[in-house]
């Protein structure tokens, strides 16, 4: 392919990428959809790249996309030990919100949420963003006050949010149990009208296609086995497909971050735990908002296929196996059956787990490191999907300029040493 050799284009990037539209759909329908071209290449790695991104999940692919589209850095590889979007990007519950408490968090999560608004147009790929509205139930007096505080903080910085009472909750979610006759009656809710969901795989695929069209090599089934350096500077990576030289290395490997950074001799303030989710059998439309019930540890939304998508708290102990334990699921389902009595006889079809990287303050790390040319983006914990566009955007700035921008600066690694942690253990909600 000749993408890398082409001059960068302003909007669509590479001329090779065929635009998806109603006309291309109609044209391909005429031929029984046999002639769709591949959305991205499967190249062999080159000997050397300006930037190698480790991890082709949403964050890694978004970083590659913004490096190419915003900074015109296209000699970039994204290497992935499995298949792209096969880690937490394909395992989350697709919720998008920005109702965090601290200023740096609100800045990055709202940047991300706002980028989601027109991401389908930007990528020419339907990510099915659905700002259907998001509720965080308040089921104790304490939670009611905490969420009021969050809603005020959100409104001060321009994030649309308001508190609603039980009657309005019932109006938005008719299937909810609004009686007083339960352990945790609903006292009200935080409401973010522009929160919602998107199609998680499509976000990875859209960024992959956009990055590939601009000349980025996405190399799947290529595992990193070592990071080489001379003195304080990185020189490249040993991989299962041979050595790849790199001027800069950006590690975006979520639950495996500790292991990859260890290859460069760095330890991380992270613990890897399993976070599980499950889906029910498909049913008719029953709930058209996202509802989170943090006191009882469960949240639920309905997918376009009709399945109820359910998530809960993380398992309590370190885990690298991508398989969770049954008590955590049982706890979540128990809570949701009380909140939504009609689901009590619904069968659950699938359950799965992803390995999330938890930091001590439940906020992410977007940072340079003590090794020159080595950058890390991790610690998104249980909130990675919602932050993909914002994270990719600010991390690309950091990697391109070797200098964090205004938003990324707060999330540097040295905050743990300086004691300026960004405590989001309440906003991160259910999963700790």
């Amino acid at each position: 392919m000749t993408c890398a050799a082409l001059p960068p284009q302003s909007s669509m990037g590479c001329l090779k990428m065929k635009k998806y539209s109603i006309f291309s759909l109609a044209k391909n329908a005429g031929n029984y959809h046999k002639d769709w071209e591949r959305a991205w290449r499967s190249p062999e790695p080159k000997k050397e790249y300006d930037v190698v991104i480790v991890g082709a999940g949403g964050h890694g692919l978004a970083t590659a996309y913004y490096l190419a589209s915003k900074h015109n850095i296209t000699n970039v590889a994204v290497i992935e030990k499995g298949w792209l979007g096969g880690g937490n990007t394909g395992r989350n519950t697709t919720i998008i919100r920005s109702n965090y408490l601290q200023d740096p968090s609100m800045a990055i999560y709202e940047l991300s949420r706002s980028l989601y608004e027109d991401l389908s147009q930007e990528l020419n790929y339907n990510i099915m963003f659905s700002p259907r509205g998001l509720l965080m139930l308040c089921q104790t007096e304490h939670e009611l006050r905490a969420m009021k505080r969050t809603s005020h903080a959100n409104r001060l910085v321009g994030i649309e949010a308001r508190m609603i009472d039980r009657a309005e909750v019932k109006e938005l979610v008719p299937i909810i149990n609004d009686s007083d006759d339960c352990r945790y009656p609903i006292l009200g809710a935080y409401y973010q009208p522009r929160g919602g969901t998107a199609r998680h795989d499509a976000v990875a695929w859209g960024y992959a296609r956009g990055a590939d069209a601009r000349g980025v090599d996405i190399i799947q089934q290529c595992e990193v086995t070592g990071i080489t350096r001379t003195g304080r500077k990185v020189t490249g990576l040993d991989t299962s497909k041979g050595h790849i030289k790199a001027k800069k290395i950006a590690v975006v490997t979520a639950g495996n971050t500790s292991l990859v950074m260890q290859m460069a001799g760095l330890s991380m303030p992270i613990e890897s735990v399993c976070l599980q989710a499950l889906v029910s059998e498909p049913i008719k439309p029953a709930i058209d908002v996202v509802v989170m019930a943090n006191t009882v540890h469960g949240y639920m939304s309905q997918s376009d296929k009709g399945e109820l998508v359910i998530g809960g708290g993380a398992d309590s102990y370190n885990n690298y196996s991508q398989r969770g334990s049954f008590p955590a699921l049982e706890h979540t389902v128990t809570a949701l059956v009380e909140t939504f009595p009609i689901i009590s006889r619904l069968r659950m079809m699938r359950m799965w787990g992803g390995i999330v990287d938890m930091t001590g303050d439940r906020s992410p790390i977007i940072s340079k490191t003590d090794v020159d040319g080595l950058y890390v983006n991790c610690g998104w914990g249980t909130g990675g999907f919602k932050s993909i566009p914002g994270s990719g955007s600010v991390f690309a700035d950091l990697v391109a300029k070797d200098q964090p921008g205004e938003i990324a600066g707060a999330f540097s690694l040295d905050r743990f040493k300086q004691g300026r942690t960004i405590d989001e253990s309440v906003a991160a909600a259910v999963a700790h």
């Binding site: 500790s258 330890s267 991380m268 613990e271 890897s272 309590s316 370190n318 930091t359």
Partner: protein, 120 residues
């Protein structure tokens, strides 16, 4: 699901009968040296974790039994529990041998300050 045996009272239970207290053997720097704690030492104590893929040493509490804390040696991939030992004890040599070099280095380093202390 983990099935755990409390080494203190001997009761066997599921993981929900116990509470995981996270990585073990994290020494609080202020205990040894209240006046001279570096920012690095405090960060390591508060936030840095070994997070190994494989054999791990962690603290558990026998929540619905005797209520005592103890250490367990567990594999973070296979979930197999290799053994238990007391909350004040170091891992037995046989278990330590199985673990990541990070853990072996940890106990090597932990020996040093007390050696220094003995000299002074």
């Amino acid at each position: 699901m983990l099935v755990i045996t409390c080494p203190v009272c001997g009761v066997e239970g599921e993981e929900a009968d116990f509470h995981c207290g996270g990585e073990g053997h994290i020494a609080r720097p202020a205990t040894e040296n209240p006046d001279g704690i570096s920012d690095d030492a405090q960060r390591d104590y508060m936030f840095m974790r070994k997070n190994p893929k494989g054999v791990h040493f962690e603290r558990w509490r026998c929540d619905r039994g005797c209520g005592k804390w103890f250490h367990a040696c567990r594999d973070t991939v296979s979930m197999q529990i290799f053994g238990y030992y007391g909350i004040t004890q170091r891992p037995p040599a046989a278990l330590l041998k199985k673990a990541d070099p990070l853990w072996q280095a940890h106990f090597e380093a932990a020996k040093k300050p007390s050696a220094k202390k003995a000299k002074s």
